[in-house]
Symmetry: C2
Subunit: 320 residues, 2 copies
Amino acid sequence: MSRIPALVEAARGGDPRALARLITLVENDDEGLPELAALLAPHTGTAQVIGLTGSPGVGKSTTTNELVRALRARGHRVGVLAVDPSSPFTGGAILGDRVRMQDHATDTGVYIRSMSARGHLGGLAAATPQAVRVLEGAGCDLVLVETVGVGQAEVEVASLADTTLVLLAPGMGDAIQAVKAGILEIADVFVVNKADRDGADATYRDIQGMIALGERGPGQWRPPVLRAVAAKGEGIDDILAAIDKHRSWLESGGELRRRREARAAAEVEAIALAALRERIGSLRSGTALPALACAVADGSLDPYAAAGQLLASLQLPASN
Amino acid sequence: MSRIPALVEAARGGDPRALARLITLVENDDEGLPELAALLAPHTGTAQVIGLTGSPGVGKSTTTNELVRALRARGHRVGVLAVDPSSPFTGGAILGDRVRMQDHATDTGVYIRSMSARGHLGGLAAATPQAVRVLEGAGCDLVLVETVGVGQAEVEVASLADTTLVLLAPGMGDAIQAVKAGILEIADVFVVNKADRDGADATYRDIQGMIALGERGPGQWRPPVLRAVAAKGEGIDDILAAIDKHRSWLESGGELRRRREARAAAEVEAIALAALRERIGSLRSGTALPALACAVADGSLDPYAAAGQLLASLQLPASN
């Protein structure tokens, strides 16, 4: 008998260990995920999701920590998901950072969790929304998703948030990196952290200049650039105010609904593609793909014809 | 009527413009690619494929240029494919480098071409082997595939070569980068280029040290580390000798065949997956996915159930 209904029940009752086990199931792409998703669906769809990203060293953990403190003071139940899109090697670093979060260790209104998605065939695009749903199902009305680094994977993760914060720090060349990685397109709020350091003004001007270059129609959101010194708790209220303002903008124009539907579509696609990929992958251990590969290597069959035969063995209708 | 048979005929007759048009078809994932692949298959499967990769600035173009000169002197017909796995922004840089290849502009036994795969749904994994086949079908018995940068995409491209050369240069921290990117696993020959510069010995020792750390069974290939100053033509003969030696090793143990079958399998999979992805993508413009996404955003349907319905609309048999 599946243990998942009992785990969901316990997580909804506030049991942090049940919650942890559920997120581990998500990480590992457990075969029970469809059941879990079905159980969670009625309890999801309303939590506010805040993304937070930036290069290593800009102060993401400190900022998250201070934001959690301020959100708790407002009465929110807060979930934090620290997502590691990169190699196994950096897993330790993230877990290390988590130690600084122990400020909240005795607060049952906060749940903090690192997550990788190495075991998830659908990758972060499929795994992260599931984990957010677990936190939401367990009663968090606000979920902070923190990602490490500035790259394609971070953009992917950030794109599932209602509001995405991008942290910068002086003298790190972040502005250029942000443009390269497409961060500029997904940022709703920029924060120049460590604003008491040399070079903060230059970073501020750089990013303002890049925002000014972007074309925006009337009624479109223009990302504000804030200054903060998270380690001293400075600027946190301004960040929350910017999040609130962005939230109002999202709600007023129907953008919140559009974003959530786009996210849901991307998630459904990722799950469907993963299922298809898994089926194709399962053919590797069969005889079809090796035989086709042999014929292609010989030149006796071309790769498109081989791919057609492979798809036929999946009982798919003819392509195009 | 399809123009592809005539283009293939012309390319096989040595017409460089026909060859260029065929590679453009590959770049753009033209709907005629299955036909092209079928026409080329009988003429492919024997060319030697050499991969060449390394960070920007290590001297890839210069080295390629000198290798082409030496290979021509041996009587090979040589194709060069400079693949750009990254953003559109670097396209110009590659084309600029190509100017230096004009040494060979009047030599009809050499065909040099930059390629991106931005338009190809199957990405580089599907596009690059097709382009190699075009060059092979046009009579090149040796194809050099040069990639810019050291990253996951480069590893992917390099993995389609029989022999992969990794270029390093003094003082660029390449050794660490190489390990991070998984280059160490795919390199068959290391070349420390610009070996007359300060720091070349340190780079040489670094990479030797990393190779020594790798575990190798008896009969396994241990990548040699060579020194070269490509700009002066120094070390090119050593590189060719190492390629020959690696080629003998590949042939003696059946590894060449194994590599080519593994490559063909990956290629067939990439094409099959791209076809499936395209079909799922085509549902975006239909009514199924938006309706499912709406239900998921509402919480009235969970994403796994939605993915199942999406797959059902593709007429796929039930998963698992």
